[in-house]
């Protein structure tokens, strides 16, 4: 028994390139866009454990899973399987690695070959990897596997279309197990299934894992499912891991604000409970041009205000949002002006336009369901000055940055260990930062 992990992923990156056709490359004015799907991920999986990887669609979790098995070529970083580096495998080594590590896919309707019977589906990988001494032996193994995953050996000569979703997923699992792998990467294996069969498949995976000592990387967007099956969980947001923890700890006491949101959004099947789930504003940003600093800061309910901030958190968040919208050019003053002009049918002053921007981004009076906030006079002055800058071709963001900037925007949070097997990438939990702040409060206290 060693503490060496069975799989160790270091600084893994997978970038995709948009617009890299010949014509774009010949035109210097066209930029090649880089999609940073996986952007520097470290992971370790111990032998025999199930590691869950959770995150929303587009966060890069499937790309990460595929890169780990080299189903897509990683851009950079290393993947160590036992003593070997997967990224440096030759084609032959890669093939033998595939008999050690197998994948179960999300959609059992498209991941099975419709022209193969169940028998052919399960026997094929054995043939490829030279498992079984004769075709009779392989046949016998296929029969055992199919029975082991809860189907009947009568089913061996049927085709995928004759099965329900849950049964097909059982076939996919049998196919993955056919090569006697050590590691299973399961990418959303139950999300295409009805709730009444999801637990059947999860229980099957759990049993098989214990019986065969499998190590599993389990990818899901559904936290309730992760909780049922995983020993540890890594939470992913926009290409990065933001928190790692043991499953029970994560659910009881999530540290990263994003994990908190995910945990709070797990549906509670009880209509009498008034839910206090945290609603995130906005969408997941694009991994083409991820936000600066902490990638979660534009949506973070706990984004850290400047030290001298005396007003409420909501107002602070909305100012940040206004700043981001100004920066991205999302605020279109001409469009607002022409809208106001057509409404009032008279010329519209700069002040009116400014007021409308504040109404929409900060006060949010006309959005149904949004809470209104009051803008204190000193803040209103600053905002007015910044918005005036737009009209005089100055940079409003620079003006706002002077008194409204957050460490979350400027600095990438590093991974800090909260306790054993537990780390979080968030400035709120950044021990050094806390110490600095304590120091500075001590200093100011001394001055008094």
């Amino acid at each position: 028994m060693t503490d060496e992990p069975i799989l160790k992923v270091d600084d893994l990156q997978k970038h995709f390139y948009e617009n890299q056709g010949l014509l774009t490359r010949l035109r210097p004015d066209q930029e090649v866009k880089t999609v940073r799907a996986v952007d520097g991920v470290d992971l370790t999986i111990q032998e025999g454990e199930t590691l869950g990887l959770v995150g929303e669609s587009g966060c890069g979790k499937s790309t990460l899973a595929r890169s780990v098995l080299r189903l897509t070529e990683p851009t950079d970083g290393s993947i160590r399987y036992r003593e070997t580096d997967v990224t440096e495998f030759s084609d032959r080594e890669l093939r033998s690695f595939r008999s050690e590590a197998q994948m179960v896919f999300q959609d059992p309707f498209s991941s099975l070959n419709p022209r193969y019977t169940v028998r052919e589906t399960v026997v094929e990988p054995m043939k490829v990897h030279g498992i079984g001494e004769s075709s009779e032996d392989r046949d016998q193994r296929a029969r055992e596997l199919i029975e082991r995953v809860g189907l009947d050996s009568e089913h061996l000569d049927r085709y995928p279309h004759e099965f329900s979703g849950g049964q097909r997923q059982r076939i996919s699992i049998a196919r993955a197990l056919a090569v006697e792998p050590q590691v299973i990467v399961a990418d959303e294996p139950v999300s295409a299934l009805d709730v009444s069969v999801q637990m059947q498949i999860l229980n099957l995976l759990n049993e098989l894992q214990e019986e065969m000592g499998l190590t599993m990387l389990f990818i899901s967007h559904n936290l309730s499912i992760v909780r049922q099956i995983c020993d540890r969980v890594a939470v992913m947001y926009l290409g990065e891991i933001v928190e790692r923890a043991e499953t029970a700890t994560l659910f009881e006491d999530p540290k990263h604000p994003y994990s908190e949101v995910l945990v709070s959004s797990i549906p509670i099947p009880d209509p009498t409970v008034e839910r206090d789930n945290i609603t995130l504003e906005g969408d997941v940003p694009t991994p083409i041009d991820p936000p600066s600093g902490c990638r979660f800061h534009p949506r973070c309910p706990k984004v850290i205000p400047p030290d001298d901030w005396a007003h409420d958190q909501e107002l602070w968040r909305r100012i940040l949002r206004l700043k981001a919208s100004l920066e991205s050019g999302e605020v279109n003053l001409d469009a607002i002006r022409s809208k106001l002009e057509s409404q009032t049918e008279s010329p519209v002053s700069e002040e009116d336009v400014k007021e409308d921007v504040l109404e929409e981004y900060v006060i949010r009076a006309n959005v149904e369901g949004a809470d209104r906030v009051q803008i204190p006079p000193e803040v209103a002055d600053d905002l007015a000055r910044a918005l005036s800058a737009v009209f005089s071709d100055d940079d409003p963001v620079e003006i706002l940055d002077r008194s409204y900037s957050s460490i979350c925007e400027s600095t990438v949070p590093s991974e800090s260990d909260v306790s054993d097997h537990r780390s979080v990438n968030c400035h709120l939990h950044d021990e050094e930062l806390k110490r600095d702040q304590q120091l500075s409060t001590v200093v100011t206290a001394d001055e008094h």
Binding site: E56, N203, R227, L262, P267, P269, V284, N332, E368, A370
Partner: protein
């Protein structure tokens, strides 16, 4: 045989729909699909009511007929599906027998609908403002410019940022969550009395899902708009619905107040389904699954559709086809046993 069965579902319709002021009253609705194996009864005598200002959920697993029910209500069922029998009464009009002209006046105006995949429900070649404003041009004779203006206001109300700018965007420039908001804005354009939402959050991420559900809930409260919400997710039902109809194999098997049904489910299928949903507050019980498979609707079992999977089933269950009976005030269950346990 056919006629006694029909009498029974008529009787069920009388028991279940009795509110004269109901916004929408569906009685004994039967939708069939013609297949090689004969006619499949996807919706097999469904009766329900949406009352004014309430959110009624229809919950069930894939293939249970919940989407076929919502499409039948809107008269949008396409071949090989057709409505075989039944009545869908909205504001005194039976939509099943209504003329195309009448339906055109109602759809998008008094009743509007949002779908599971907002991206495929939006037309890729028209900009968002044009699409959100379309119901206004059709039903309220608005000019192009006025409808665009109003579209922008609607987009703001549903929380689309920079609506002035976004009104000229095309669907591909929208994310899934934003596209669903645009769909909702479009559905609200003519201030409908009833919104039918067919799995409105299923293709969305959890964080976007709760935004969208919050919005639907708030619109329901503020505008007193009835909502028929179709979903496979009991968590969503618990969060937003006032009443719920649980569907299994083309039938409603349990129907009533959400709190009653979650507290005291009477139909074994509802119990089973509730046990499949993990409760984040309880780690001592793990969720279970329902053994067996959904029956083939082309060849449904004799007796109760759920009997082959039901742990409480007796011989009687395999012989008798149960219909909804009132088990407590305004709570109906289609099980032979009032309380199977």
């Amino acid at each position: 045989m056919e006629s006694t069965e029909n009498n029974e579902s008529e009787a069920e319709a009388d028991r279940v729909t009795h509110d004269d002021d109901a916004l929408l009253s569906v009685r004994n609705l039967e939708a069939r699909f013609d297949t090689e194996d004969g006619a499949v009864r996807a919706v097999d005598g469904v009766s329900l009511e949406v009352r004014e200002g309430e959110i009624l959920g229809i919950v069930g697993e894939s293939g249970c007929g919940k989407s076929a029910t919502s499409l039948s209500i809107m008269q949008l069922l396409e071949s090989p599906g057709y409505i075989h029998d039944g009545e869908v009464r909205f504001n005194g009009t039976d939509l099943v027998t209504a003329s195309k002209e009448e339906l055109r006046n109602i759809r998008g105006n008094n009743i509007s609908m949002i779908f599971q995949e907002p991206m495929s429900a939006l037309n890729p070649v028209f900009d968002i403002g044009w699409q959100v404003g379309e119901p206004l041009r059709v039903h309220e004779d608005m000019s192009e410019a006025a409808s665009r203006e109003r579209a922008m206001e609607l987009m703001k109300q549903v929380g689309i940022p920079s609506a002035e700018d976004r009104v000229d965007s095309y669907p591909h420039q929208f994310s899934g969550g934003m596209a669903q908001r645009a769909m909702i804005a479009m559905a609200l354009a003519c201030e409908p009395d009833l919104l039918i939402a067919d799995e409105p959050t299923t293709s969305l991420d959890v964080t976007i899902e709760s935004q969208t559900l919050d919005l639907i809930e708030k619109l329901n409260e503020q505008r007193d708009m009835g909502v028929l919400l179709i979903t496979h997710n009991l968590g969503v039902v618990a969060q937003v619905c006032d009443r719920v109809a649980v569907m299994y194999a083309g039938r409603i098997v349990e129907y009533g107040d959400v709190e009653d049904i979650f507290r005291d489910p009477r139909h074994p299928y509802t119990k089973g389904l509730l046990d499949c949903v993990p409760d984040p507050r309880r780690t001592d019980v793990s969720p279970t699954s329902i053994e067996g498979e959904v029956p083939d609707l082309a060849d449904p079992p004799d007796g109760c559709n759920f009997a082959p999977r039901c742990q409480y089933a007796t011989e009687e269950c395999q012989a008798t086809d149960p219909r909804l009976q009132e088990v407590e005030t305004d709570h109906y269950s289609a099980c032979l046993w009032e309380d199977p346990e």
